[in-house]
C-alpha cells in the first residue's frame, strides 16, 4: 500500500485552511489569550494554595463538583489542558489506598505548571513548548511542520489505547522506529458517531515520514507521508531497568510526563498482585486499573513474551503482546 501522494496533499490542504488571513488580528487574539491564561493560572495557583492551607482532607467530602468548578474556570480561561487534568482528579479519591498522596502529587504538579508558566521566559524554548502544550495551547500544524525536519523510518506500530473524555474519544498510537529507535505518539480524536483513525494496524511496520511536535521530550508526532506498510514482527523487548532509566531521563526533561512507552521482554506473574518480571528478576507492577490481565497471563503461559504498553506512575498498562508465532495480540 503506497499512499504518500494523497497524504501529502491532505496535509497541504489543512495547511492552506490554517493560513492566517489577518496577521494583526491574529496577534491581538493571541495576546488576549495569553492574558486570560495568565490570570487563569494565577487563580488556579491561589486555589491550590487554599486547598493545601485548609488541608486536603476536606476534598474527600467535596465530591465531583469540587474539581468541576475549578475545571470550568480553566475552560473559561482558555486553558483546556489544565481543565482536563483537573477533571481527571475526581476519580482520585476512588483510586484505592494512598489516594491522598496521589492527590498531593497532582496538586504539586499543577502548581509546578503554574510556576513554570509564570516564568516561561526563563525556560529553554523546548521546555517552554512543553509547558504551553500541557496548559492547552495547541500548535498549528504549519508550525509543527516548520519546527523540524521529518523523520523517516520503519515505524513499528506497537500499541494503541482508546480513551473517552467528555464524549470525545481519543486514540493514542505508540510507534517506535526500527532504525532510529525513536518513540513516537500519534493522537487522533473523534466525536461520538465518528470512527477513530484506523489507518495504522498494531503489529505492522509503517514506512513513514513523521514530524514531531516541539517539546522537552519530543514524543507527539504527526504523519506527514506514508510510503509503505510491511508485516513487521515483534519489537525488541528490553529489561525493566532500561525502561526505568529511560523514563527517569525523560522525566528530568519533562516532569509532567505520566505515560511513557514501554517495550519489555517479561513474564507476567502474581506476587500476589499482577506484575511483570524480566530475565534479571526485576519486576514492575501492572496498573491496578488494567484489571486481572488474564489474556496476558494466558498468552505467556509463564514464559517470557514481548510486551508493549504504557508505563505510568501507578504501574504498567499492558496493551500489546506477541505470541509464540510472533503475532501481535492487542490486550
Amino acid at each position: 500500500m503506497s499512499v504518500p501522494a494523497t497524504r501529502v496533499a491532505s496535509v497541504a490542504e489543512r495547511l492552506d485552511r490554517e493560513r492566517v488571513k489577518d496577521p494583526k488580528a491574529a496577534a491581538r487574539r493571541a495576546q488576549q489569550r495569553e492574558t486570560r491564561v495568565a490570570s487563569g493560572l494565577a487563580e488556579l495557583d491561589r486555589w491550590l494554595c487554599d486547598q493545601a492551607r485548609q488541608g486536603l482532607a476536606a476534598s474527600q467530602q467535596a465530591g465531583y463538583g469540587h474539581w468541576d468548578d475549578i475545571a470550568a474556570r480553566m475552560v473559561d480561561a482558555q486553558a483546556p489542558g489544565l481543565a482536563e487534568r483537573l477533571r481527571a482528579l475526581a476519580s482520585v479519591p476512588y483510586s484505592g489506598p494512598g489516594w491522598h498522596g496521589r492527590l498531593l502529587e497532582e496538586y504539586a504538579l499543577l502548581h509546578l505548571l503554574a510556576v513554570a508558566y509564570r516564568r516561561q521566559d526563563e525556560l529553554p524554548p523546548p521546555l517552554r513548548e512543553t509547558v504551553r502544550s500541557r496548559i492547552g495551547f495547541s500548535l498549528r500544524q504549519a508550525d509543527v511542520l516548520a519546527g523540524g525536519p521529518p523523520v523517516r523510518d520503519h515505524w513499528q506500530v506497537l500499541a494503541r489505547r482508546d480513551l473517552e473524555q467528555d464524549r470525545i474519544r481519543a486514540r493514542r498510537t505508540w510507534l517506535r522506529g526500527r532504525m532510529t529507535g525513536r518513540d513516537a505518539l500519534l493522537l487522533s480524536f473523534a466525536v461520538p458517531g465518528q470512527p477513530l483513525d484506523d489507518s495504522l494496524t498494531v503489529g505492522t511496520d509503517a514506512d513513514a515520514d513523521l514530524v514531531f511536535y516541539p517539546g522537552a521530550v519530543p514524543l507527539r508526532a504527526i504523519v506527514l507521508a506514508r510510503h509503505d506498510d510491511s508485516q513487521g514482527g515483534p519489537p525488541d523487548g528490553g529489561p525493566v531497568t532500561g525502561l526505568l532509566a529511560r523514563y527517569a531521563a525523560a522525566l528530568a526533561a519533562d516532569p509532567w510526563l505520566d505515560s511513557w512507552p514501554a517495550v519489555l521482554a517479561v513474564t507476567p506473574a502474581r506476587a500476589p498482585t499482577p506484575v511483570v518480571r524480566d530475565a534479571n528478576g526485576d519486576t514492575l507492577p501492572l496498573h491496578p486499573g488494567a484489571g486481572d490481565c488474564w489474556p496476558l497471563f494466558a498468552l505467556s503461559g509463564g514464559r517470557p513474551a514481548t510486551l508493549a504498553g504504557e508505563w505510568t506512575p501507578r504501574g504498567l498498562w499492558p496493551l500489546t503482546a506477541w505470541d509464540e508465532g510472533g503475532r501481535a495480540v492487542p490486550l
Binding site: 493545601a52 482532607a57 498531593l104 504539586a108 526505568l244 513474564t267 506473574a269 488474564w294 494466558a298
Partner: protein
C-alpha cells in the same frame, strides 16, 4: 516514615495548622533564596520536587519466576479461526461456540492462548446442567487451560475434566463423575456402557438422566439399545423421555421399527391426473404404546382436533427411521421433497427435520434445508425454529446457498438468518482447516 509521608500528612492537615517538613536532599537542593515566605507554596514546591524524584527514582521490585505451563504439542488454531472465536466470545453467534470447539478438537487444533480467559469465563457461567461447553473448553484449551485453572479458582472445572480418574468416579462431585464418564465414553464406548449398567440400579433419577445423556452424546450404537429400551418403563418421567430420545436416534432400534409401522400408512405417493403428490393421513389418536415410546399426544393442550392430529404426525415422523421413506417410495430425500404435499408440507418439514437431526442424517438435512432455502412449497410457512436448528446442524459445505445480494428485503427473516448462519459456519469450519 518517609519525608513524602510527612508531606502528605502536612497537606491533609493543612499548613494553617501544621508546619512544612523539610525535604532532605532528594538530589536537587532548594536554593535558600528561592524559598518563598508562604509555607503553603513551600509545601507545594517540595511536594512537586519529591513527586518527580520519586517517579524517576522508583526502584524495580523483585519476584521469583512463576511456574510455566507445560508445552502443548497441539498447534494453535489459525489466526483467522482465532479472530472468529474472539467475535463469538464477544457475542456473535455464541450458540455456535460448541461447534467451533468440537471442530477444533477433531482437527487437532487448540484455542489460541490469549482467548482462553474469555472462553473459560463463558464456560463457567454456563449452568452446570449443561456441562458440554465446559468439557469442550477444557479439551480444546489443552495444557494452557489447565495451567490457567491453577491460577484462577474460578476455572478449576478445567482440571475436573482433565484429571478425572477412578477417584473422580468413586468420590467426585456430579460434574466430576460426568467428566470421567464422558471421557471414558469417548475413548471406549463399551467400557462406559458396562460402567453405566453396573451403576444403574443404585442410581437415582437425575443420575440416570446423566448416564443416558452421556450415552447419547458419543459412541451411540445398537449395542446400547437394551438399557434405554428397559428405561422406557422407568418411574421417572425425565428418564423415560431421555430413553425414548436416545432410541429414536438409533434407526435400527425396536422403537424405530415400532414407529415405522405407525408412520408407514400415514404418507403415500399417489399418481393421478393432476400429477404425482403425497397424500397424508395423520394418526387418529395416540395410545399408551405410543406414549411409552415418547410420543406426546398434544391433547388437552386446547388443540383443535386437526391440530392435535398434525402434532401427533409430527411426533411420529420425528422418531421414524428416515430409510422408511426412501425405501418405501424408491426415491431419494430430495426427490421425496419435490413431490407436492399441499397443506401438509409444513408438518412434514418439521417432522422429517427433527428425524434428520436426531439420526444425524446429512443427506436428509441437506435436502430439507435446500428445500426451505429455495422457498419451500409456495404459499406455506415453514417453522422458523426448525429451520434455525437445521441451519446449525447441517454440513454447510453441502448446502446450495442462494445469493442474497440485491434482494435483501424480499427474503423472509428466518431464511435470511439461516443463510447467514450457514455462511458463518462454512467460513468457521474452513478456517479451522488452515
Amino acid at each position: 516514615v518517609s519525608i513524602w509521608q510527612d508531606l502528605v500528612t502536612a497537606s491533609l492537615i493543612g499548613t494553617e495548622r501544621t508546619g512544612v517538613p523539610a525535604v532532605a536532599d532528594p538530589g536537587l537542593p532548594i536554593r535558600p533564596e528561592g524559598v518563598p515566605g508562604d509555607p503553603v507554596t513551600l509545601l507545594l514546591d517540595r511536594a512537586a520536587l519529591l513527586t518527580v524524584a520519586r517517579r524517576g527514582g522508583r526502584p524495580a521490585g523483585h519476584a521469583e519466576p512463576p511456574a510455566a505451563a507445560e508445552p502443548d504439542p497441539v498447534p494453535a488454531a489459525s489466526p483467522a479461526a482465532g479472530r472468529r472465536l474472539a467475535r463469538m466470545l464477544g457475542g456473535e453467534h455464541p450458540d455456535l461456540l460448541a461447534e467451533w470447539l468440537t471442530a477444533a478438537v477433531a482437527r487437532d487444533r487448540r484455542v489460541p492462548a490469549h482467548l482462553l480467559p474469555a472462553l473459560l469465563d463463558r464456560a463457567r457461567r454456563v449452568s452446570p446442567s449443561d456441562p458440554e461447553l465446559r468439557r469442550l473448553s477444557a479439551e480444546a484449551g489443552g495444557s494452557r487451560a489447565r495451567w490457567l485453572a491453577g491460577l484462577n479458582p474460578a476455572w478449576t472445572f478445567v482440571t475436573a475434566y482433565a484429571e478425572a480418574g477412578q477417584d473422580a468416579w468413586r468420590l467426585g462431585s456430579t460434574s466430576q463423575r460426568r467428566g470421567y464418564l464422558t471421557a471414558l465414553r469417548a475413548r471406549d464406548p463399551r467400557a462406559a456402557r458396562e460402567l453405566i449398567l453396573q451403576s444403574w440400579e443404585a442410581a437415582a433419577g437425575p443420575e440416570r438422566v446423566m448416564f443416558l445423556s452421556v450415552m447419547a452424546n458419543a459412541g451411540l450404537s445398537l449395542a446400547d439399545e437394551p438399557l434405554p429400551e428397559a428405561a422406557l418403563d422407568d418411574r421417572d418421567a425425565e428418564v423415560r423421555g431421555w430413553a425414548a430420545h436416545l432410541l429414536a436416534r438409533l434407526p435400527g432400534s425396536a422403537l424405530g421399527q415400532r414407529m415405522a409401522r405407525r408412520a408407514r400408512d400415514c404418507i403415500r405417493v399417489e399418481s393421478g391426473v393432476r400429477g404425482t403428490r403425497l397424500v397424508v393421513i395423520p394418526p387418529a389418536r395416540g395410545d399408551a404404546a405410543m406414549r411409552r415410546d415418547g410420543v406426546t399426544s398434544g391433547q388437552g393442550g386446547g388443540l383443535q382436533e386437526m391440530d392435535a392430529r398434525a402434532h401427533l404426525l409430527d411426533e411420529v415422523l420425528a422418531r421414524t427411521p428416515l430409510r422408511t421413506w426412501t425405501d418405501r417410495f424408491g426415491r431419494t430425500a430430495e426427490q421425496i421433497l419435490a413431490v407436492p404435499s399441499g397443506a401438509w408440507s409444513p408438518v412434514l418439514f418439521t417432522g422429517w427435520s427433527r428425524a434428520a437431526m436426531a439420526q444425524r442424517d446429512q443427506e436428509w438435512m441437506t435436502a430439507l434445508i435446500n428445500w426451505a432455502l429455495a422457498g419451500g412449497p409456495a404459499g406455506t410457512r415453514l417453522d422458523a425454529e426448525t429451520l434455525r436448528q437445521l441451519a446449525r446442524r447441517v454440513d454447510p459445505a453441502r448446502c446450495a446457498l442462494p445469493t442474497t445480494a440485491g434482494r435483501g428485503a424480499e427474503i423472509p427473516p428466518p431464511i435470511r438468518d439461516a443463510i447467514s448462519v450457514l455462511r458463518f459456519r462454512y467460513d468457521m469450519l474452513k478456517e479451522l482447516e488452515l
